[in-house]
């Protein structure tokens, strides 16, 4: 979902969600165990501005303002990577965050093409310009193994 990168999520909300899943799995039989698949969320209030984030914006290559206005300090920014939504950040617009979290879960196309309330006149993505990851990992792909036609297999690798 996020370029198959290993992620360290350093918000306490993630620790709580992981703990809930871990506690459930500790007391459940193997068939009833859950995978930890929560989409990351964090929030912070900075100088009166309520900032919330869903997904992993920092892996994005592009960003676009989908609702509101940056000069007014009230907006939704959607982050995309290779044509798919990977995250969204809201500034004083947190009521819309859940929606974008669900869009991330569905790997929705980026940039979004749907119509919403409070849409800016110019919905055009710009480069996100995040600094390169300090320890680059390779993107996931499929490798072909085996020599004999009966042994040839496509195998999914994440690194």
């Amino acid at each position: 979902m996020f370029g198959y990168q290993f992620l360290a999520l350093e918000h306490w909300g993630n620790a709580v969600t992981q703990a809930e899943v871990a506690a459930h799995n500790m007391i459940s039989s193997q068939a009833d165990r859950w995978p930890h698949l929560a989409v990351p969320v964090f929030w912070s209030t900075q100088f009166g501005t309520e900032i919330k984030s869903t997904g992993v914006p920092s892996v994005a290559d592009s960003v676009v303002i989908t609702q509101g206005s940056v000069p007014d300090r009230r907006f939704v920014a959607a982050y995309g990577r290779q044509g798919r939504l990977v995250g969204a950040v809201t500034f004083n617009q947190s009521k819309w965050l859940e929606f974008h979290g669900r869009q991330v879960e569905r790997a929705a196309p980026f940039p979004p093409t749907y119509q919403t309330v409070d849409q800016p006149a110019d919905v055009r993505p710009v480069p996100a310009e995040f600094p390169e990851a300090p320890i680059p990992t390779q993107a996931a792909t499929v490798v072909v193994t085996g020599h004999d036609p009966s042994e040839r297999r496509a195998e999914f690798v994440t690194r």
Partner: protein, 378 residues
């Protein structure tokens, strides 16, 4: 038409859903709008206009800027409820709708907006006429128009008077607002006043009347409430889930094709959110058709869980603006009814209902009792 909890919550938070009736296509039109001749109130607007209007009004109603608006009304509210129930003394039967549920919210809104006491009777007549616009049966268009015009004139005068000599009320605060986002125009002030009046009125009437009815149908809960007044907080939450005043929201529009629950709602179609059905969704709450205030008891079930939430006040950016006031009015009225009515019982069950399907509640609610316990003050 959406009736399940999860899908309703999704749509309440979906930016592809508009609350502006102007986005409805012609075939889906026929939805009640605001007061003729006035701009739309924030109930019928989308961001950014909705957000700005609501922020400006919130500044004078809620914390952090106005921390004690609702709390400050509590003593007066107690006094109004006490006075109305004092009026039952010497009788053995009253209509709870006409003698408590209806007059209480009008008196409170007058207090909130700074309408002088002596004008309340005039005000009452206009409100009753205006509320007919919500009722599909009456067809009283001329009367509604007339009441709207007269009340707009009255409010214009009141706003000017409050601007010259501001009091501690909300209308004075709005008329003299020095906030960062500027003042509302006179027209916006008028439509906002009307909205607070109408939305804050009929809904609370139904909450109190539905609450009285439900408690009388569950005498063991009423008896517990009499012995444990603190229980009223849980009772009102459960009422908002079990028998809410607003049964559905009929005027949302899809701004784009929206896929939900394996269905596509086409762009331009009208979306009806059945809030009351969502609050009774068996996938959301256990035993949804049971009236059980204990489901809101944090001591019984540990921390409040997501499964205990209800849609009584809607959700998303249009979450009920007056929720804290509605809660306070219902808690006060139902708490005092439980305390003061001796051996109360329903005269007719079911009572006659209003014809309005959106705002559901009894038209009259005859209640018989043996005696009235004196008010605390008296």
């Amino acid at each position: 038409m959406v009736s399940t909890y999860r899908e309703i919550v999704e749509l309440l938070h979906d930016p592809r859903v508009s609350s502006d009736p102007r986005n409805l296509t012609a075939s889906a039109a026929g939805v009640p709008e605001g007061v003729p001749g006035l701009p739309a109130s924030f109930l019928h607007l989308d961001p950014p206009e909705h957000d700005r209007l609501r922020r400006v009004v919130t500044r004078h109603f809620r914390p952090p800027h106005t921390p004690d608006r609702v709390d400050g009304l509590a003593p007066e509210l107690h006094k109004i409820v006490g006075g109305l129930i004092d009026g039952f003394v010497g009788r053995t039967e009253v209509d709870i709708v006409d003698e408590l549920a209806y007059p209480l919210p009008v008196a409170v809104i007058c207090q909130l907006l700074g309408v002088p006491r002596e004008d309340e009777p005039r005000f009452h007549v206009w409100v009753e006429s205006l509320l007919k616009s919500l009722d599909p049966d009456t067809g009283a268009a001329a009367e509604v128009q007339q009441a709207g015009t007269e009340m707009a004139q009255y409010f214009s005068g009141l706003i000017d008077a409050h601007r010259r000599a501001p009091g501690g009320d909300m209308l004075s605060a709005l008329a003299t607002d020095d906030g960062p986002e500027g003042q509302l125009t006179q027209e916006q002030l008028l439509s906002t006043s009307f909205l607070l009046l109408i939305a804050g009125h009929e809904t609370t009437v139904n909450l109190i009347a539905n609450g009285t009815l439900t408690l009388l149908r569950h005498p063991h809960v009423l008896e517990r409430l009499r012995r444990d007044p603190e229980m009223v907080f849980r009772v009102v939450e459960e009422l908002l889930r079990y028998e809410p005043p607003v049964h559905f929201v009929p005027w949302r529009t899809a701004l784009d094709d929206i896929e939900i629950a394996d269905t596509t709602m086409p762009k331009g179609s009208r979306i009806v959110l059945l809030l009351a059905a969502g609050s009774r969704d068996p996938d959301h709450v256990r035993a949804p058709d049971r009236f059980d205030p204990d489901r809101f008891d944090p001591d019984r079930f540990g921390l409040a869980r997501e499964g205990d939430q209800h849609l009584g006040f809607g959700g998303g950016i249009h979450y009920c603006f007056g929720a804290p006031l509605a809660r306070l009015e219902a808690q006060t009225a139902l708490g005092e009814l439980a305390r003061r009515l001796v051996n109360p019982r329903l005269v007719t069950d079911p009572p006659p209902y209003r014809t309005n399907p959106v705002l559901r509640g009894p038209r009259h609610l005859q209640v018989a009792f043996d005696d009235i316990v004196p008010s605390r003050e008296g």
